[in-house]
């Protein structure tokens, strides 16, 4: 058992093709050890979100296989533990919420389904979970429409926590948020990781976010993994030209405050 559990999510030679054009990802292998925090970076169209959907069992690979705690996703039933143990958080928290349900109802429903608790106990548990992600007071009885982006994302995270996940896969969880609110959500993810020993997979185009939250980074380009390794190594010693450009853009942002007129600009083709 313990040996099987050492790898939480595992993609082996995974290819995903849509109806037309080049495959979204091709021949990607990636293992996420239990308890690890792994970032997946790449630009739009690099295949990082497709890979995330394969890792959480939401999309079946066209070729290759994806496993969760050693079991093939294709063999995992709707109500199996593994399905529940892997939860996903998306960029657009509004689209992920039922517009007619309050945060309290949304989270309570998840508690009812997952833990089989009666309504009253589920509501109490939901209140506790919402408090845990920093939501309390009148906010928990409002409709999603009247919540801010940061508050909605907290609701989505609380609902994911109701499932008592072991793995959280977050796809651009802060991209739609303002800087000051992004920091609150990043702090929440850091705290959850520490307190709950969550395995964290963080997909982002922003290498600063990945650098802050994760230990390992996987760099994707054109549907494949071009480089992976410890965050510090990749940031200080990128091996691939694309990673180098990504890291340069990151350092340009991270280095105050010179005006760099000396650096040549690559021509766009």
């Amino acid at each position: 058992m313990s040996e099987q559990r050492s790898i939480a999510l595992d993609a082996r030679e995974v290819t995903v093709s849509y109806a037309r054009g080049a495959p979204a990802i091709a021949g990607v292998s990636l293992a996420i050890p239990a308890g690890a925090a792994v970032g997946i970076v790449g630009e739009s169209g690099s295949g990082k979100s497709t890979l995330a959907r394969v890792l959480v069992g939401e999309r079946a690979p066209t070729a290759g296989e994806a496993r969760v705690f050693g079991r093939r996703w294709s063999e995992v039933g709707r109500r199996d533990r593994e399905r529940r143990a892997v939860q996903m958080v998306f960029q657009d928290p509004y689209g992920a919420l039922n517009p007619r349900m309050t945060p309290l109802e949304t989270v309570a429903e998840a508690v009812e389904v997952v833990r089989g608790q009666p309504r009253r106990a589920a509501l109490a548990a939901a209140e506790e979970l919402l408090d845990h992600v920093g939501l309390g007071g009148a906010v928990v009885t409002r409709r999603p429409r009247s919540l801010s982006g940061g508050q909605r994302q907290r609701v989505v995270i609380a609902r994911a926590l109701a499932c008592e996940p072991e793995v959280l896969v977050a796809d651009e969880p802060t991209s739609a948020l303002d800087v000051s609110v992004q920091a609150q959500i990043l702090n929440l993810l850091l705290r959850l990781r520490r307190e709950r020993e969550l395995t964290l997979v963080l997909i982002s185009h922003d290498i600063a976010v990945v650098e802050h939250l994760t230990d390992e980074v996987v760099v994707m380009l054109n549907g494949g993994v071009v480089e992976s390794g410890p965050v510090e190594r990749v940031l200080t010693d990128p091996h691939e030209p694309y990673t180098r450009r990504l890291v340069d853009a990151f350092h340009m942002r991270a280095t105050p405050p010179a005006v760099r007129t000396d650096s040549p600009i690559e021509e766009q083709r």
């Binding site: 940061g150 000051s180 992004q182 702090n187 185009h205 853009a249 105050p256 405050p257 600009i265 021509e267």
Partner: protein
């Protein structure tokens, strides 16, 4: 005040007020854009930074907004109170504008060449041949390779970064004295963002025009701008030379923005996030500092006094009663 030899600022706004709808009233605020400078305006959603772009270019009416008071001088010429016709003539050949989401503001069914020709004709009728030559020059200026192919292309045949370069070329058509760019890199990937900002800076330096860039990303702006202006809830809360603002923020909100940036915080340690959320516009009428509800420095005074901008360092201003504590913290 200033020596006679220095040119007047391209933009000098004093006590400027503008609004859209019933609730969103921005200002009064001051803004100076020196000739040949690159000024970055940073703010979160709803801070009024996009409306600021519209105010500076006389384009508020096109989205239902209006300029309500104060002074707005463009190279010394007072434009507050100017009608649409005067604004149009002030803009022509002098002010370029890259609207937000300009990635989608190219006409999808017309080739780039035709769209550029149309814009070139608006700024001074030329022959088709002269228009084509100028279009090619402008596309080369924004560092697009294979210009003939770009001119023949439809927008969907170009990448996001290429389309944004085309938008920049279009904004440069009249050789403007001022370019106003609203979130020019927001929809682009990180590597392309950096390139577009560097390109803007290079074009600015070569032409000597002034640039105002609006963004939610303080770090990106500070990599290319001479001056940073920080907006919060419809006010300018701090402004000054980039190096000073970054090294010695004197408004608690600026300080909070820097502390919220994961790129500046040791890995895996909690960010010193700003608690709460920005004050919604319908609560801007209440007395006191609009940042006070989220501010660790706030005292009872802050809930009653609207803090005026005060000089905090050479060229730097902050609207905070407690700026000395903020600088010392």
């Amino acid at each position: 005040m200033s020596p006679a030899t220095t040119p007047p600022p391209v933009i000098a706004a004093r006590e400027l007020r503008f609004s859209i709808g019933e609730t969103v009233a921005i200002g009064p605020l001051d803004l100076t854009v020196p000739a040949g400078a690159m000024v970055g305006i940073v703010g979160e959603t709803g801070s009024g930074k996009s409306l600021m772009c519209r105010a500076l270019t006389g384009l508020l009416p096109s989205i239902g907004g209006s300029l309500d008071g104060g002074s707005l001088r463009f190279e010394g010429e007072e434009l507050a109170g100017a009608d649409a016709r005067r604004w149009a003539s002030a803009r022509r050949g002098r002010i370029g504008f890259m609207p937000q989401a300009s990635l989608s503001s190219l006409n999808p069914v017309r080739r780039i060449g035709a769209q550029m020709r149309e814009t070139l004709r608006l700024t001074g009728s030329r022959s088709r041949g002269a228009c084509d030559r100028r279009a090619a020059e402008l596309l080369a200026l924004v560092r697009l390779r294979d210009v003939p192919r770009v001119l023949r292309s439809y927008p969907h045949e170009l990448s996001g970064g290429m389309r944004q370069r085309v938008m920049l070329a279009l904004a440069l058509v009249g050789e403007p004295r001022l370019l106003v760019a609203d979130e020019p890199t927001t929809a682009l990937d990180a590597t392309i963002q950096a390139e577009v900002l560097q390109l803007l800076r290079q074009v600015q330096e070569r032409s000597g025009m002034s640039v105002v860039i609006v963004s939610h990303d303080l770090r990106s702006l500070s990599s290319v701008c001479d001056t940073i202006v920080v907006m919060y809830a419809g006010r300018v809360v701090e402004s000054g030379p980039t190096a000073t603002v970054l090294a010695r923020p004197s408004h608690p909100y600026t300080r909070g923005l820097l502390a919220s940036d994961p790129a500046l915080t040791p890995r895996g340690t909690p960010l010193r996030a700003i608690e709460g959320r920005p004050l919604p516009a319908d609560e801007w009428g209440a007395p006191g500092c609009r940042f006070a509800p989220r501010c660790g420095f706030a005292t009872a005074d802050c809930t009653t006094t609207d803090p005026p901008p005060e000089p905090t360092a050479p060229g730097t201003q902050a609207a905070c009663l407690h700026w000395k504590e903020v600088v010392g913290a």
